[in-house]
């Protein structure tokens, strides 16, 4: 029982310490929902959104866990570059 209490306490401390250290990746995932934008704004003549959706689809199909998250952030980086190019083009 004593051992169980210690384990529980250790788990609680680690969890509490981890909360304020949430990386921006996680914030991004929670706040902006990195899942494919359903419908999205396809009214324009760009192709950034379709490339982004394809990229996310490939992440889902080929990766898992933390690698999947990294893959999706890489998709965001490419999307970011795509819209930056069209903004400055």
């Amino acid at each position: 029982m004593k051992q169980f209490k210690r384990l529980f306490l250790a788990f609680a401390v680690v969890t509490l310490l981890a909360i304020p250290c949430a990386a921006d990746d996680e914030v991004y995932n929670a706040d902006f929902n990195i899942a494919p934008p359903v419908g999205g704004d396809n009214s324009g003549n760009g192709n950034c959104l379709s490339a982004y959706n394809n990229c996310l689809y490939n992440c889902d199909a080929r990766t898992a866990g933390a690698t999947r998250m990294g893959c999706k952030v890489d998709c965001w980086f490419d999307y970011y570059g795509c819209i930056a190019n069209s903004a400055m083009g």
Partner: protein, 327 residues
């Protein structure tokens, strides 16, 4: 007979093809280069290509290839993601590519390792005493800009920065500009025509910049979520160059102007403005062609460079103020 004739014919065709190829190679233009970023010192401008080459241009000169970022065995550095931004920090090149590391190279381009970052950064800039990076995934202004004075530890610049949650991660598309004297400016690529001077702390300011926009574009300053095409949004500036006297020059981005027929026409990267250290607009220059960066400013002229490396010179004239036009 048929076989020998066929051999003769293919031989002649081969020779003719080789001659045509040789002539084409001899007279064709050098391969086109597209630059993704510029790093400016008082005497030189350096340009980065998406495959990790650095070009250099002395004042008033066209860019020439300086080096290829490489490993110790001289093979080009293999980029998992294309390089997006670079700067020279002390005697090293630092390159950002959206990862949570900056890639370090010696002054002559040899890979030496990484600077680990607490965030993923697509942009790096330097002042005389600090490295500045932007956060690809910030959820608010207070998480957008990070600074390091030792080259290892980065701290978010939260002073005076809003903690209000962004409506879109595209709010992290930024123009970041740092002057050797220590001034640092940040501006949203999509948003109102505003520039924030974030450093030095005693000169922090939010400065409204000039530009001509249609009523519709002026109403599209806020971006929500992920969009396909940003070209209709308010995209006020594409570059900012801090000046030694504490002022700065801005290259306007997408503008709507009244054409000779009375209709609104699009101007892209064609006008630049000079501002004094208090943020007052002093003058405007109009480039004959679109440019992407400002590389040189004097009292009378300004030089812009396109992302293909073409130099365009313009003369400062009367300031053209902000304008919002009805169709």
């Amino acid at each position: 007979v048929t076989t020998s004739y066929f051999r003769q014919l293919t031989g002649r065709l081969g020779v003719a093809a080789a001659v045509v190829l040789a002539i084409t190679a001899a007279f064709s233009a050098p391969p086109a280069v597209t630059f993704v970023d510029v790093f400016r010192t008082p005497s030189m401008s350096y340009f980065l290509t998406p495959i990790g080459e650095i070009y250099v241009a002395a004042r008033g000169q066209s860019p020439k290839k300086l080096l290829v970022l490489h490993y110790a065995n001289n093979l080009p550095y293999r980029w998992p993601k294309n390089p997006a931004s670079f700067a020279q920090w002390r005697s090293e090149w630092l390159v950002a590519n959206g990862a949570n590391q900056l890639v370090r190279f010696t002054h002559d381009g040899m890979f030496t390792g990484f600077v680990e970052l607490p965030i993923r950064s697509p942009k790096v800039a330097v002042t005389n005493d600090a490295i500045w990076i932007t956060n690809l995934l910030a959820g608010n202004v207070a998480r957008q800009l990070w600074r390091s004075t030792d080259g290892h530890t980065f701290v978010a610049q939260t002073e005076g920065a809003s903690q209000a949650r962004f409506t879109s991660p595209a709010k992290n598309l930024l123009v970041l500009a740092a002057g050797a004297d220590g001034d640092v400016y940040v501006a949203a690529i999509i948003g109102p025509p505003l520039v924030r001077r974030v450093w030095p702390p005693n000169r922090r300011a939010e400065i409204r910049i000039a530009g001509s926009r249609s009523k519709m574009r002026a109403g599209m300053e806020e971006i929500y979520g992920v969009v396909d095409d940003v070209t209709d949004y308010s995209l006020p500036l594409r570059d900012l160059l801090p000046l030694p006297d504490g002022g700065f020059a801005v290259l306007r981005n997408r503008e709507d102007v009244r054409g000779s027929t009375g209709k609104l026409e699009l101007l892209k990267g064609r006008r630049a403005d000079c501002y004094d250290r208090a943020g007052h607009q002093l003058s405007t220059a109009v480039f004959a062609r679109s440019v992407h960066w400002l590389t040189e400013v004097t009292n009378t002229k300004v030089i812009g460079v396109s992302n293909a490396g073409d130099l365009v010179l313009a003369t400062w004239g009367k300031p053209i103020p902000e304008e919002i036009l009805s169709p």
